[in-house]
Amino acid sequence: MLQLGALYVLIPLTDSQSVEVQGNSAAAIGNLSSKIQNYQPFIDVWNDPQGGLHGYLSRFLDSHDTTFQHIAIWTIVQFLEGDDEDLMDLIKNSNDLIPAVARLTQTLDANPSHKELEDGQADESEIVGLARRVLSMLEME
């Protein structure tokens, strides 16, 4: 599916006017990112189209929607587990991704009595766990 150019349509759709389309496109990117041999298709779209993978991850990490935060941070974990040096460098060297991930690790501290989850809402403690994992994988903690 990556060879068929799926990322070139999915990335622009993460910025759709429809929340559903945004979430489904991001879920598709996340699922495509897991356990693959070649990460070049993700590197190719880092900045383009429409802000690229970098723009999408940054937007979702900064979203107020915990489901969106969860998809983005889970996707970054998949990239890091893939251990592709070039992709790891792109993540590490971006100006905004790591600060956004670091902010997510503070979520529970800032909001210790977070309310019960509504349907479909991501678990904040899991998001914090994944964010900490990202920092530790990049040795930035």
């Binding site: 599916m1 068929l4 999915l10 759709s16 489904n24 598709a28 699922n31 969860h70």
Partner: protein, 266 residues
């Protein structure tokens, strides 16, 4: 009588007046003209929940089901459409399942009727029945897929719409995923993704593909190999939002191929 029954205000009065029992009896008349008018009047009584219930209580279901085998296409149409409306209610579907074992076969047979509007209503009636698991399985077991695929391959929009809506419901059952793929539905479903004249057809087609991809690796592979992803990629930026949402959800499900974990679609 039939035009008197067509006015909403009169329908409730008729339902409450006790006229439905004799009307149901008239539907059994040997005079085809009387039978046509009576079944047409019964159909007019199926447009509201309350009247449908009165009709069911008056014993109309077995009469309507037995008249599905009428040689007259008007009677076929009235009875098929009336039963389709009756099958909208889940309590009625339960009753149909308990009392009408020949219903599914009769409706499958009517997808080969000489009348296009009967074919269309038969597919819609099966679609409504296929809201329930038991009917999803029964339609496939009763060899409903072959006539359904023939309707799906039609060039007549109402036939395409009714058959694609029907296969969408049937595809919900995990046990139906492989039989539908093996019956040869994939190419036509993928073609219908580009049916720009009707958004509903596009939505049903992509949702069916998503359902078919839900449970097995083999089926995910078959859908990708049939060209679904290329077609979605070429269309997705230009289709209405409702279709876009279904298309991206389908890609997310297909992207799970060969993976044990992933992100769920919204």
């Amino acid at each position: 009588m039939r035009s008197f029954v067509a006015i909403d205000e009169n329908k409730t009065k008729i339902a409450k007046s006790g006229a439905l029992v004799p009307l149901t009896r008239l539907a059994r008349s040997k005079d085809m003209r009387v039978q046509r008018n009576a079944t047409g009047a019964l159909l007019n009584m199926t447009h509201s929940d309350e009247n449908r219930q009165q009709l069911v209580n008056a014993g109309a279901i077995p009469v309507l089901v037995s008249l599905l085998s009428s040689p007259d296409t008007d009677v076929q149409y009235y009875c098929t459409t009336a039963l389709s409306n009756i099958a909208v209610d889940s309590a009625n579907r339960k009753k149909l399942a308990q009392t009408e074992p020949k219903l599914v076969n009769a409706l499958i047979g009517l997808m080969d009727s000489t009348s296009l509007k009967v074919q269309c209503q038969a597919a819609l009636a099966l679609r409504n029945l296929a809201s329930d698991e038991r009917y999803q399985l029964e339609i496939v077991r009763s060899r409903g897929l072959t006539p359904l695929l023939r309707l799906l391959q039609s060039t007549f929009l109402p036939l395409i719409l009714s058959s694609v809506a029907c296969i969408r419901n049937i595809s919900i059952h995990p046990l139906n995923e492989s039989p539908i793929i093996d019956a040869g539905f994939l190419d036509r479903l993928i073609e219908l993704l580009a049916y720009e004249e009707n958004e509903e057809i596009q939505c049903h087609a992509i949702s069916t593909l998503r359902n078919l991809a839900a449970s097995s690796e083999r089926n995910k592979r078959a859908i990708v190999e049939a060209g679904a992803v290329e077609r979605v990629c070429s269309l997705v930026l230009h289709v209405p939002l409702s279709v876009q949402s279904e298309m991206t959800a389908c890609v997310a499900v297909l992207a799970l191929s060969g993976k044990t974990t992933g992100v769920n679609v919204l």
